[in-house]
């Protein structure tokens, strides 16, 4: 397959060489257009975030970041991610395992439900929790009697974030787990491994890269979520403001240095995520190619080194 692909690439290159003169021109125009588009709509704004953040000097930048309310928002965001990501890893592994390794009724429904947060507007996700846990909600009075506050407090933020981030890990793992099948686990069991040992030694290593990729995406979303969190947070400075909410608040309050300083942190997170994601994708592709090559049906047999 790879060779067929190379052949096709080779053909198109030859064609452009012997083809009409405008081909390189068209190519050049297309590349410049996409480049220009990315420059105007992505690169300049991104650079601008950092430029604005540092406009009044590095001192002002760090001063803005060390503002107690800002620090509190960073802590809250980190806390939320620290709770949501592990929970979603556990949930994602369970769900992917169930979908990939078992046949059961309602499997299609489960997959649809896992995708639900992707299709629902985050605002709705927030409102769901207000309806359930808010003072006017179903469980509100019961919770209020026991002095448990969920809405306009940290638990609400965590719940809303959980909701919007839970497809990421499962979605990444399902195809990987489906591709690996159950043979290796069965082999481990015939060799005496318990279910737990099989999971840690065989299942997890074989889905490692997919899992890491899922975690990265999940983490990025958990830290960056605005809509759902905004509905349940209550925007109490220093208490229920996450980083995205803090950015909005500072910006509305005409503190552009502060707003852009926090925004630069979020942008930095996005950049790191992007680099890691690209790297993992590259790794996965290599592993996938290796797995395909190791498929016994397609393997090329090296009879000479075969000392039977």
């Amino acid at each position: 397959m790879a060779s067929a692909f190379q052949r096709r690439v080779g053909e198109s290159r030859r064609k452009s060489q012997r083809g009409a003169e405008e081909t390189p021109l068209v190519k050049w125009i297309l590349i410049s257009l996409s480049g220009l588009f990315l420059l105007v709509f992505l690169l300049i704004p991104l650079v601008n975030v950092f430029a604005q953040a540092l406009a009044k000097g590095v001192g002002a930048y760090f001063e803005a970041l060390t503002n107690p309310d800002t620090m509190s928002s960073i802590r809250l965001t980190l806390l939320t991610a620290a709770i949501c990501v592990p929970l979603n890893v556990v949930f994602g592994v369970c769900a992917a395992w169930a979908v990939a390794k078992f046949e059961f009724r309602g499997k299609a429904l489960l997959i649809t439900l896992i995708d639900l947060p992707f299709s629902v507007s985050p605002v709705v996700a927030g409102l769901i929790y207000v309806v359930v846990f808010g003072l006017q909600g179903y469980l509100g009075p019961w919770l209020a009697e026991r002095d448990i506050q969920i809405i306009f407090a940290v638990p609400g933020i965590v719940l809303a974030t959980l909701f919007v981030t839970f497809p990421f890990v499962a979605r990444e793992l399902i195809p990987v787990m489906q591709a690996t099948g159950t043979d290796q686990e069965q082999a481990a069991m015939t060799l005496g491994a318990s279910g737990w040992q099989t999971f840690w030694r065989v299942t997890l290593p074989s889905v490692k890269w997919g899992l890491l990729y899922g975690i990265i995406l999940c983490n990025a979303r958990a830290m960056g979520e605005f809509g759902a969190v905004s509905v349940v947070s209550g925007h109490i400075s220093g208490v229920t403001d996450t980083m995205p909410l803090r950015v909005e608040k500072l910006y509305i309050g005409y503190d552009s240095t502060g707003a852009f300083a926090v925004a630069s942190l979020l942008a930095l997170l996005a950049l790191v995520t992007l680099v890691l994601k690209t790297w993992f994708e590259w790794r996965q592709e290599r592993l996938f190619e290796a797995a395909q090559r190791s498929d016994p049906g397609e393997a090329t047999h090296d009879t000479r080194s075969d000392r039977t």
């Binding site: 043979d183 015939t190 491994a193 290593p205 190791s294 075969d306 039977t308």
Partner: protein, 367 residues
């Protein structure tokens, strides 16, 4: 007795995959479970391993009932059809996996792995990953891995299915040698009757979940228990015949019908080697024409067409073919030496019968 199956059944929902199967495998035996795909042989193998739970019946390994013993504690080695090597582990890590799980001492693991590497001809491949191995190497790693914890029984599911023909032949011979050296009770599944005949001490034949026959390769070939076995093991000519005047007729050919009344439908079967041919058109009672010759190596398969259009398959060596001076479209005379009444209104299979015509000495025997 190493493995004993007592009245084992397994159903998946409505379908009966295995239906009241009973057989035993002696200590140190090499047994093939043979049958067409969907015959239930893999299910039987997986039940012995503990990967499937029988719906009914008992499985005993070395006299102990293992029905309720989980797969981890049955002490079996299982080689999967596609080998199921751990892709994230090197050859060495694959082989020592079972030993680490069973908490062998480090030094013992080292010496066991080294021993297996040598025995399986895998030296120098310790650090390779499964995707860097050839099909034959992968299979040997899979067997080495399953043998590492010294299992009491080795089970192989279609062990030669995933490699090409040349390596398959080498692996068969190698498996026989290995079994000879280690003498571990071995059961393997195959759908290839030639493979089963060549490798196994005994063959267990399945079809549609039922056990059809157990016996040595020679047994099942020469004394098939029923029509299915007769047709499945080796090549067989099968003719649909109608009885008339005590003879079963198909085209020009007729066979004594063994007392069946006129009008009975019956099937007559005979092996290709029972077809006697001569270029002397008066030597045998039936005229035929050489329709096509298939070169299978040392043996040739020759199709003869009788005037009625009936086609009979014969088998002879290259030498016989040359001596007879046969070629496609050549006129010959032929006769069937032995035949078997396969089915007479579902009666059990009878034994092989000689044809009544006086048989002149076979031409090849006169050389």
């Amino acid at each position: 007795m190493s493995i004993q199956l007592k009245n084992i059944s397994k159903s998946f929902g409505e379908t009966m995959a295995v239906d009241r199967v009973e057989f035993t495998v002696a200590e140190g035996e090499l047994v093939a479970l043979l049958g067409p795909s969907g015959g239930g042989k893999t299910t039987v193998l997986r039940m012995i391993a503990g990967l499937e739970i029988p719906t009914a019946g008992d499985i005993l390994v070395r006299g102990h009932r293992v029905n309720d013993l989980p797969v981890q504690r049955r002490n079996i080695g299982f080689v999967f059809q596609n080998y199921a090597l751990f892709k994230t582990m090197s050859v060495r890590e694959n082989i020592q996996f079972g030993l680490k799980i069973k908490k062998w001492k480090r030094s013992e693991i080292e010496s066991r792995v080294t021993e297996l590497m040598e025995l399986f001809g895998l030296q120098g491949l310790e650090r390779r990953y499964p995707h860097q191995l050839s099909g034959g190497q992968r299979q040997r790693v899979a067997i080495a891995r399953s043998m590492a914890p010294k299992p009491s029984v080795l089970l192989l599911d279609e062990p030669f299915g995933a490699v090409d023909a040349k390596i398959r032949q080498e692996l068969r011979e190698w498996l026989v040698r290995l079994h000879h050296e280690l003498n571990v009770t071995t059961v393997f599944v195959t759908h290839d009757q030639e493979e089963a005949m060549e490798v196994a001490n005994r063959i267990v034949i399945f079809s549609r979940g039922r056990l059809e026959q157990i016996g040595t390769p020679r047994d099942v070939y020469e004394n098939p228990a029923n029509e299915f076995v007769a047709r499945f093991i080796g090549v067989m000519n099968v003719l649909e015949c109608v009885v008339k005047g005590g003879q079963a007729h198909a085209g020009e050919l007729s066979f004594p019908a063994g007392g069946a009344p006129d009008g009975t439908q019956m099937r007559i079967g005979f092996r290709p080697y029972a077809v006697m041919v001569s270029t002397d058109l008066t030597q045998y009672p039936h005229r035929a024409r050489v329709l096509h010759t298939f070169f299978l190596g040392i043996l040739l398969r020759v199709e003869f067409e009788l005037p009625s259009g009936l086609v009979v398959r014969g088998r002879m060596t290259k030498e016989e073919y040359g001596l007879l001076g046969l070629e496609d479209d050549r006129e010959v005379s032929l006769q069937i030496k032995n035949y078997r009444i396969l089915a007479r209104d579902d009666a059990p299979l009878g034994s092989e019968l000689p044809s009544p015509q006086p048989t002149p000495p076979h031409i090849a025997e006169n050389i």
